[in-house]
């Protein structure tokens, strides 16, 4: 009964390909996030959604397109993958109000060849 689950856990693909990462939470939260963690462990927010609406787009290239079909899901599609996209991507969720801790998935390690 994983609270925030992401698939796949590992993704290895060629430069220029298009790929998707899926995220689902069963906590009943209405806010979801995508974070990118680089090789130095630096964790940076990419997007946040509240009730399926985009709240934050943190200057992410438009090759990245999040989609939230419902409050429990936030998927991330990436077009034309580049070497610099190699990282670990984390999905998270929280209760809708500010000042609530986020619950993270275990990450998707994306490696671009």
């Amino acid at each position: 009964d994983t609270a925030v689950s992401q698939t796949p856990k590992y993704l290895v693909t060629q430069m220029g390909n298009d790929k998707s990462i899926k995220c689902e939470q069963n906590l009943g939260h209405d806010t979801m996030y995508w974070y990118k963690q680089d090789s130095k462990k630096f964790l940076k927010i990419m997007f946040s959604y509240n009730n399926k609406e985009l709240i934050i787009n943190e200057t992410v290239p438009n090759r990245f397109s999040p989609k939230s079909p419902d409050k429990a899901h936030l998927n991330l599609h990436i077009n034309s993958l580049e070497l610099g996209d190699s990282a670990v991507y984390f999905c998270a969720s929280s209760q809708g109000q500010d000042n609530q801790p986020q619950h993270f998935g275990d990450g998707t390690r994306l490696s671009i060849l």
Binding site: K41, I45, S48, D98, F104
Partner: protein
């Protein structure tokens, strides 16, 4: 295994000793702070939080101290155990309200020595 985090500050402590992990935050208007623990191959896990109207909060074996004057946050772990070995992040909610924007610190790797 991971070969990441080579530039992370590292704190090494003896098992049973107390650990203190420090964090400087960026925004004097931030009103909510969180400490997370990240184990290898896992996502960050919530440890403890504190609101800006407090300067101290205690949990089980952990205490968070907030000094708003110097924009400093610390996490104290009592009687450190091998299972405490991980990377620790502080995070601040930089607002404005309703934007759910959290900025994470650079992280500190805690190594517990047997």
């Amino acid at each position: 295994g991971e070969s990441v985090g080579l530039h992370l500050p590292t704190l090494s402590v003896q098992e049973g000793d107390n650990s203190i992990i420090n964090c400087a935050y960026s925004n004097s208007a931030s009103d909510y702070f969180i400490w997370y623990k990240q184990e290898s191959g896992k996502g960050p896990q919530f440890i403890i939080d504190i609101r800006s109207n407090m300067d101290k909060r205690q949990g089980q074996r952990v205490t968070v101290l907030l000094n708003k004057t110097v924009k400093h946050l610390s996490l104290q772990i009592a009687a450190t155990q091998p299972g405490d070995s991980a990377v620790y992040f502080c995070a601040e909610n930089i607002g404005p309200s309703g934007t759910y924007k959290y900025i994470f610190g650079t992280g500190t790797r805690l190594k517990v020595l047997a």
